[in-house]
């Protein structure tokens, strides 16, 4: 491995991971991003903030989450699989780690109105939850298509007192919900905190979301050493939508001799044109405030992604992932809708765990013939969320009428 990661300090002070990252936003948002960054810099080393956050992570969200040795599937495949059980968090996914961190930031900044975008609805639910906890007004933008496929989460958000604003532009999915949240923020920047849900967007968001999610990797490291009786796993695997659960797992291991795999959604197949395989099929571009990798046509128009999993149905990817891809530190592969569905059923039957369809993409990689995993490897997979929200989608694909 290159020395680059021995003393890794990116992003630089301008928010760049070399050519990726930055702040490609309307001038109106620059003061808000600067205020956010200076507030974040303050709380990062503030023991009071950090203890408030770890207290909430522990007593409200139920951390630490277990690292579970999945013996049945390990035996079947011939290597050891450890599942980092982010699905056991309050609200059912890793998204709450970030939502708790950012809501404390919002409170310190005196903001009373919270907005967020959501795809699968997991980030929306996490945001609605923390807004309810602290008595703040909350508005979530969600594409109409995602509202259709994630009905359960929509109702959960309503119960939590959040207003859902359906987004009808573009593909009516996560990308368009993000556009709409940004428009709201530009308009209400003085009163509103934009609680972004992944390691995407303009600096400092990719950095602070990564930091708030790093609890995943920090816990994993300590748990693995204790439970496996070995210093480090051989390989880490996580699904990548915007990239927050993956960054959270990977970041504390970047300097270590551990292989890392990000799995994106290949939808109906890489050659079908209907996929969300940004790293494999995308090119350098700018969307939602950051330079990264982007699915786009020859005129630089963003193309519509597809994935059965709403949380991966995004044409971009976090800038730090683009950097990790370019440097070769992380390798990115894909799994199709069908492979994810198969993995969903496989884990349910073998381990008694219904994974989120997003996380099922990471699991699907374990079963691919050409995955280069060697017998006897120790592998940690981030089980980023639970599959309850996807039961309707899975039933539909199996032709079962609920």
């Amino acid at each position: 491995m290159t020395n680059k990661f021995k003393n890794y300090t990116l992003p630089d002070e301008r928010g760049h991971f070399e050519k990726f990252g930055g702040k490609y936003v309307p001038e109106t948002l620059i003061p808000a991003l600067e205020a956010l960054e200076s507030q974040y810099t303050r709380v990062k080393n503030d023991p009071l903030f950090q203890s408030e956050l770890s207290d909430l992570l522990k007593h409200y969200s139920g951390r630490e989450t277990p690292l579970y040795h999945a013996k049945q599937i390990s035996e079947e495949l011939g290597f050891d699989i450890w599942l980092k059980r982010e699905d056991l968090n309050h609200t059912g996914a890793h998204k709450i780690n970030n939502a708790l961190g950012q809501i404390l930031l919002a409170i310190r900044m005196g903001k009373k109105r919270i907005i967020a975008e959501t795809g699968a609805g997991q980030h929306g639910v996490a945001t609605a939850t923390v807004a309810a906890l602290f008595g703040l007004e909350c508005i979530v933008y969600m594409g109409k298509e995602d509202i259709r496929r994630q009905k359960l989460n929509v109702f959960r958000m309503n119960l939590l007192g959040t207003e859902i604003r359906p987004v009808l532009s573009g593909s009516m999915t996560l990308k368009d919900a993000t556009n709409e949240a940004i428009r709201d923020w530009v308009t209400n920047v003085e009163t509103t905190y934009y609680l972004i849900g992944s390691t995407v967007g303009p600096h400092p968001y990719p950095m602070l979301v990564r930091d708030f999610q790093s609890v995943i990797g920090i816990e994993t490291k300590a748990q693995f050493a204790k439970q496996a009786g070995k210093d480090l796993p051989d390989r880490l695997i996580a699904c990548v939508g915007g990239g927050s659960n993956a960054m959270g797992l990977f970041y504390p291991f970047l300097k270590d001799n551990v292989k890392m795999i990000g799995v994106e959604a290949a939808g109906k197949g890489l050659e079908s044109g209907e996929h969300a395989a940004t790293m494999t099929k995308g090119e350098f571009g700018v969307l939602h405030g950051a330079a990264s990798t982007l699915l786009q046509n020859e005129d630089g128009q963003v193309t519509l992604p597809h994935s059965i999993s709403a949380g991966l149905d995004y044409p971009g990817v976090g800038p730090e992932h683009s950097y990790l891809n370019e440097t070769g530190r992380v390798n990115y592969y894909t799994a199709t809708d069908q492979e994810a569905l198969d993995a969903f059923i496989w884990l349910s039957e073998k381990e008694g765990i219904l994974p989120a369809l997003e996380s099922a993409h990471a699991l699907a990689y374990l079963r691919q013939d050409d995955n280069e995993i060697e017998k006897g490897e120790q592998i940690v997979v981030c089980l980023s969320g639970r599959g309850d929200k996807d039961v309707h989608t899975v039933a539909e694909s199996l032709g079962v009428d609920l």
Binding site: P26, E27, T28, I30, G170, V186, T187, G300
Partner: protein, 256 residues
């Protein structure tokens, strides 16, 4: 002297209409820009449609989507501007989100601008923090980058932005996206005075400008007024877009 510099050295009222390229028909822009010029427009801003226009409200979003459905491309826009250039000598600025420009490449994009005889470039998602290399290259090719300031931009930053832009800057009238309503004239006046005092270049104002009265008022407190959403709204469903454009520009200019 560049067309932009020349125009803004004259102490006269300036109206700058915005038109989405490729809207309502693929090649309408040629006819509509010429109609606007005939009716008295002082400069025009031509919008490059983008799939994800973050700074725009529903009216301009829809026009951009329609234009993309019509098949508009950057290449076609350059051809259209060449046609327009045969007929008029007023300053022409392209407004566009960064990604399509990045995809074409700074050098190729700017060379195309030069050969289409375009004068200015307005990039709403390329703020001071990221704009350096693009602006320097544009200026070296004789083009004017027109950077934005907003009501929450500090005085020091207004100065830096105007220094990088060099010829002209664009002040958002409001915190918000195109199509939003103006805030109180009192707040606006204080803000525009601040821009006047800190900018080293002339400045135009846009967003929320709809009427003849607005155009007059903004020309008293700034160096020109940009009208976008109001024009696109008029064009929605118009049977004779060129006539609609001409009539509305005349109205905005106060020409009977």
């Amino acid at each position: 002297m560049s067309r932009i510099k020349k125009l803004f050295s004259k102490p006269k009222e300036k109206l700058i209409p915005f038109l989405t390229a490729g809207y309502p028909e693929l090649d309408s822009t040629i006819e509509l820009v010429c109609a606007a010029v005939d009716a008295g427009a002082d400069m025009v801003e031509i919008g490059i449609p983008f799939s994800d226009p973050q700074g725009d409200g529903p009216v301009i979003q829809k026009s951009s989507q329609q234009a993309l459905n019509n098949g508009i491309t950057l290449k076609r826009i350059f051809e259209q501007v060449k046609q327009i250039r045969i007929q008029t000598d007023i300053p022409i600025a392209l407004m566009g989100y960064y990604n399509p420009i990045l995809k074409m490449g700074h050098e190729a994009f700017l060379d195309n601008c030069v050969s289409a005889d375009i004068d200015g470039l307005i990039l709403p998602d390329l703020p001071l923090d990221e704009a350096g290399p693009f602006c320097e290259l544009a200026k070296s090719k004789g083009l004017s980058p027109i950077l934005f300031v907003a009501p929450n931009t500090t005085n020091d930053r207004i100065r830096k932005i105007s220094e990088l832009a060099a010829d002209l800057i664009y002040a958002f009238s409001i915190l918000g996206i195109s199509g939003n309503e103006l805030s109180s004239k009192k707040n606006l006046k204080a803000y525009l005075t601040r821009v006047r005092e800190n900018s080293v270049t002339p400045f135009v104002v846009g967003f929320g400008i709809n009427t003849r009265d607005d155009v007059v008022w903004f020309n008293q407190h700034a160096d020109g007024a940009v009208v976008g959403t109001a024009i696109i709204k008029k064009l929605n469903g118009s049977k004779l877009p060129a006539v609609t454009t001409k009539d509305f520009i005349k109205e905005l200019k106060g020409i009977k």
